[in-house]
Structure formats: structure tokens, C-alpha cells
């Protein structure tokens, strides 16, 4: 059976088409404002690339903060469950998953079977999310990728005061005025976000192996700051931003169904209540 896993996040969409053991296609794009339309469009594109039609897809599982926008989904699973499943497939030794996306930072304690044991989340505040990095990269006038690179070239450690992204922007501007080298500012920003993410992770407790996923896992500067902040090694799988979609696809293959609404007589999985 061919299945689709669709992850609709705060800013981006990720879709994976999977057939039993093998991934057929992957696609990602911006979620935009009209998320439902963006999903339809990207889904049609990926089907075309794979040379199949909607009828060939046996089951569609959605996840992400806007999972409900996938009108054609057969069901949805919570983000934490998708992360846990996806990571379990890629790194079976993972016990802690840290997922930092555009608008959320999340830490999940997972069982050897890929079940969610506990999780904590920050979705209230942009500090500690990818949006914070975007805002700071605008203030620094470098791209996010560039910022990730230059952060690794920093030679001195600065600490910033602002916790809020709005105030952080003014602080970065005044650091630029003081002629602080951009790599040091970039590093300070990464350290600040890493500190916030680490405190979310400490709520669930950090246990080896620690795996990081989500868009921010592609930011080497940030991953380095986070490693230092938690003082543990962090494994980043290939295509870390697709892990949510992969988890949804795995759930579709396994016939798991959590959403009550559209139950098609599939097995129900319980997820522990989150903290935070």
C-alpha cells in the first residue's frame, strides 16, 4: 500500500509518499497563509512526481500544528507522536527527541518502541523557535543559512539580555551599532535560543541518545550551541525537517489512528498529556 504523511507546521509543509519499506517521494514548501490550498497544491505536485494519482494512495495521515487543514486526510496524529515514530525509524536508540520548528520548540521522551512517554512544549513564545532566528537574521542582514555558518566562526562569547524576539531585534541592532562582529552576535543569538530550548528539554529530562529534528536541526550553528548548552551529543538524522511527515507516514502504514473524528476502525493509540 502507498501512504502519505503530511506535516503542516506553523510556516512549512512537508509531505512524504511511502510504499512499505521505501520512500517514493519527498516534497516541502511554505505553508503560507492559506494552508489548506498550499497543502492541496504540494500534494498534487508530489503525486505527479511519483507518477501516481490520489486513488493510488491507500491512506493519508496528517500531523503538525495545522494538521486539520488537510481536508483529504484519513486521520491525524499529534506532532509529538509523529516525531517519536519518525525518529524511532531513523535512530532506534533515541530516547529524547528535540524538535524545534518555526513556531514551536518541543522535547519528547520516547520509548525503545517509538512511543511517547512524556513531552514538554513551548508554543507560546517565539524565543526558542525558528522564528526568533529569522527575526534576528533580518536584523543582522544575513540569510538564516549564512547566520548558521558565521555563528560557528565566533571568537568571543557574548550574552544577550533580551528574552523576547521583539526586544532581541533592538538589542541586535544596538550590537551592530557598537560594531560587534556579526559572527559573535549570531553565536549569542543561537546560544540564547539554545538556552530556552534546553530548559524545555530539562522538563522531560535528557536521556541518551538525544536526537534533534525540525527545521532548526538543519542549522549547524544552533545545533552546536544546543550541544554545549545541554552538554550532551546530539544526533541529527538526514532531512530532519521531514521527520514529522515520516512519522505520519509510518503511522499510516501501521494503521494507527488517533483522531476521533474520522476513525475508520483503525487501532487507537493513547498519548500521554503534555506539560508546559
Amino acid at each position: 500500500m502507498i501512504v502519505a504523511g503530511i506535516d503542516v507546521g506553523g510556516k512549512n509543509l512537508h509531505i512524504i509518499l511511502k510504499k512499505e519499506g521505501q520512500i517514493l517521494e519527498k516534497a516541502s514548501g511554505p505553508a503560507g497563509i492559506k494552508k489548506a490550498e498550499a497543502v492541496e497544491q504540494l500534494y498534487d505536485e508530489i503525486l505527479k512526481k511519483a507518477g501516481i494519482t490520489r486513488n493510488d494512495v491507500g491512506r493519508v495521515m496528517a500531523t503538525g500544528s495545522s494538521a486539520k487543514r488537510v481536508a483529504f486526510a484519513d486521520g491525524s496524529i499529534p506532532d509529538a507522536a509523529a516525531d517519536a515514530r519518525g525518529v524511532n525509524k531513523l535512530v532506534p536508540s533515541a530516547r529524547t527527541v528535540i524538535d524545534v520548528g518555526a513556531e514551536e520548540g518541543r522535547a519528547i521522551k520516547v520509548s525503545p518502541e517509538g512511543k511517547v512517554l512524556d513531552f514538554a512544549i513551548n508554543d507560546k513564545c517565539a524565543a526558542g523557535t525558528g522564528t526568533f532566528v529569522e527575526a534576528m537574521s533580518r536584523a543582522l542582514e544575513v540569510s538564516v543559512n549564512e547566520m548558521s555558518k558565521i555563528a560557528l566562526q565566533s571568537t568571543q562569547t557574548l550574552s544577550t539580555n533580551a528574552q523576547c524576539a521583539v526586544f532581541g531585534e533592538s538589542e541586535v541592532v544596538s550590537l551592530i551599532h557598537q560594531k560587534t562582529p556579526k559572527p559573535d552576535i549570531a553565536r549569542a543569538v543561537m546560544n540564547a535560543i539554545a538556552g530556552r530550548v534546553a530548559s524545555v528539554a530539562r522538563i522531560v529530562g535528557l536521556e541518551m541518545d538525544v536526537v534533534m529534528v525540525g527545521g532548526m536541526a538543519k542549522n549547524a550553528g544552533f545545533v552546536d550551541s544546543l550541544k554545549k548548552s545541554i552538554d550532551m551529543n546530539i544526533i541529527v538524522p538526514e532531512d530532519p525537517d521531514f521527520v514529522g511527515a515520516l512519522g505520519a507516514a509510518e503511522a499510516a502504514l501501521a494503521g494507527v489512528m488517533i483522531d476521533e473524528g474520522k476513525a475508520r476502525g483503525l487501532e487507537k493509540e493513547t498519548v500521554s498529556e503534555g506539560k508546559g
Binding site: G10, I33, E103, K124, C125, A126, F132, C164
Partner: protein
């Protein structure tokens, strides 16, 4: 040929200044000044024998000393008074230690409490100061002394800066938001995101969905009112309750906060009818600088400070 794009800065509120026409400062004994260098705005207030003589309200620039000079210069612009004529100057606000003309600095919490006592009367018990980058709930006694306070300076939600960001996003001048937020059919549910950054995405989504601008302003004002109420409830609100700072001028927030609290904000004492008839202004942003100038007067009178007058 490229077309020049004129961008209006909707957050840019107008700067003001004023001189009291009924005071001849040269006849005064004690001339004191307060300079409140905030993160967003800077005010200078000059008092002659404890009477309000002049003020300047300007935007804070990139460094505190120049912002203080600019504010003071703006206050003195229409007078022949010079800084050398002043007996004592106190710096307050976030940049208080960087006020070049000041002999001393006092925290803005003390100054706002003292200023609110002067502007709203000794019955004031709770002052909510809503500044550019922080907000503070302050409990005061009948002499304007701080008994207890609680503040948020970590997060832009519920601050003036948050409102400025919103004004820029929705492209409506910041001082019109309050009034326009009442031109609605029905009170909409408040913006659900706490974080200003996330609220921005939420507002973009609402605009996209076709929600009228005024309704979105109402939704943002109620979210801000709710946020302030949470802080106030932690401290406890006692009447007379007053709001100082820039957001006090936004009736969209103030009236919704009054409704949520079930408490009306107190009447002003300074600038009552007779002053208003003479055209005296009343600016809630001045409370900090006003308090600082009053502290200067009191310190000189008590002999706890020495006049620095050079001319």
C-alpha cells in the same frame, strides 16, 4: 524608472512639548527637572517650586545621553531657561544612569508612583505604568511611596512596543487604534497568541480571512487588556486605580481593562477644569519625569541635596 515607494511609519507617534504661560521662572526659587529616558520614549519635565513649568516628550534614539539632551532641549525650546539655571536634575527610566545633566538617578518605579500621586491625587493606591518595553503594577501609599510592585520586562506582549509593531502591521497610526477599536458591530474574540511575533501571524491570517480592520484592532486591544489584567491580579488592585505611560492614551485598551477588572480608572487631579480651560496639556507619559522633578524639589527642601545652579 523605479517608482519611489513612500512608506508611512504607523508606529511613529507625534512628539510634543509645552511651556506654562502662567509661570515666570525667573521669580522661582527652586528649579528642578526630571528626565525619564525610556526604551521607546524620553520625557523631560521642568518644575518651578514644585509647579509644572515645561515638558518635552520625544522618541528615544540609539543612545541614552543624546536622547536625554534631545528631550531636555525640546522642553526648553520655547523658553529662555538654560540647564545652568536649574537647581537639580534627576534622571529616571531605563537609561537613567546615562543622563548627562542629572545630579542623581532614581528608579522609574519610584518616580512613576510619585508622579501619579501628583497627577491623580494622594488617594491613588494602584498605578499601572505601561511603558514602551515593560509594564509595572505598583502599589503606593498616600505620599506616593512604593509599597510593592510587579513587572514584566521580559516579553513585548502588553507593552507599547507590541502596540507599535501591531500598528505597523495593520497600517493604522498607533494613536487611532483605540478609537477605531470601538467602531465595531460586536466585540470579537481576543487575539489568542500571547507572543507578539505569533500575534503578527495571527493578525495576517485574520486580515486574509476578511475580518474588518476595526474588529482586529478590538481583538488586539482586548488581548492587551487581558494581559495587563493578569499582571494586576497577581499584585491585587486597590482603588484609586490609575494608568500611566503611553498605553494609558489608548482607550481601546483602557476601557476594556476597566470592564475586565470591574474597576474604573481614577480621575486626574492635576489639570482639572481650570487648567484645561487655560489649555494646559495632560500627558500620561510624563508621570516618571514629573515624579523625578518632584523628588528633586523635595530633596533640596529637606537639605538632602545641594543646588547645582551655575547661573
Amino acid at each position: 524608472m523605479a517608482e519611489e515607494v513612500k512608506t508611512q511609519e504607523f508606529w511613529r507617534w507625534p512628539e510634543t512639548h509645552w511651556v506654562n504661560p502662567d509661570i515666570d521662572w525667573e521669580k522661582g526659587e527652586l528649579i528642578t527637572a526630571g528626565v525619564d529616558v525610556g526604551s521607546v520614549s524620553t520625557q523631560a519635565v521642568i518644575m518651578v517650586d514644585g509647579e509644572f513649568f515645561a515638558y518635552g516628550n520625544t522618541r528615544t534614539g540609539s543612545d541614552s545621553p543624546n536622547s536625554a539632551r534631545k528631550g531636555m532641549g525640546f522642553a526648553l525650546e520655547k523658553t529662555d531657561m538654560k540647564i545652568e539655571h536649574m537647581d537639580y536634575c534627576i534622571g529616571t527610566g531605563y537609561g537613567r544612569v546615562n543622563v548627562p545633566m542629572a545630579q542623581q538617578s532614581i528608579t522609574e518605579i519610584s518616580c512613576h508612583a510619585r508622579g501619579a500621586n501628583f497627577m491623580y491625587g494622594p488617594e491613588v493606591r494602584t498605578v499601572m505604568d505601561m511603558g514602551g518595553q515593560d509594564c509595572k503594577a505598583i502599589q503606593v501609599d498616600d505620599r506616593g511611596k512604593v509599597l510593592n510592585f510587579m513587572m514584566n520586562d521580559k516579553c513585548a506582549a502588553g507593552t507599547g512596543r507590541g502596540m507599535e509593531v501591531f500598528a505597523d502591521l495593520i497600517r493604522v497610526p498607533v494613536w487611532e487604534i483605540g478609537t477605531r477599536s470601538f467602531k465595531i458591530q460586536k466585540e470579537p474574540p481576543m487575539i489568542s497568541s500571547t507572543c507578539v511575533v505569533f500575534a503578527k501571524s495571527e493578525v495576517v491570517g485574520l486580515l486574509e480571512s476578511g475580518m474588518p480592520e476595526n474588529d482586529i484592532m478590538a481583538a488586539y486591544c482586548s488581548a492587551m487588556a487581558h494581559r495587563i489584567m493578569e499582571l494586576l491580579n497577581r499584585l491585587g488592585v486597590k482603588e484609586k486605580f490609575v494608568i500611566t505611560g503611553g498605553i494609558a492614551k489608548n482607550e481601546g485598551v483602557v476601557k476594556r481593562l476597566e470592564k475586565e477588572l470591574g474597576i474604573k480608572t481614577g480621575e486626574r487631579v492635576w489639570n482639572k477644569k481650570e487648567y484645561m480651560d487655560r489649555g494646559y496639556p495632560f500627558d500620561t507619559q510624563l508621570a516618571g519625569a514629573m515624579g523625578a522633578a518632584l523628588f528633586g524639589n523635595a530633596l533640596l527642601k529637606m537639605g538632602k541635596a545641594k543646588s547645582a545652579r551655575k547661573a
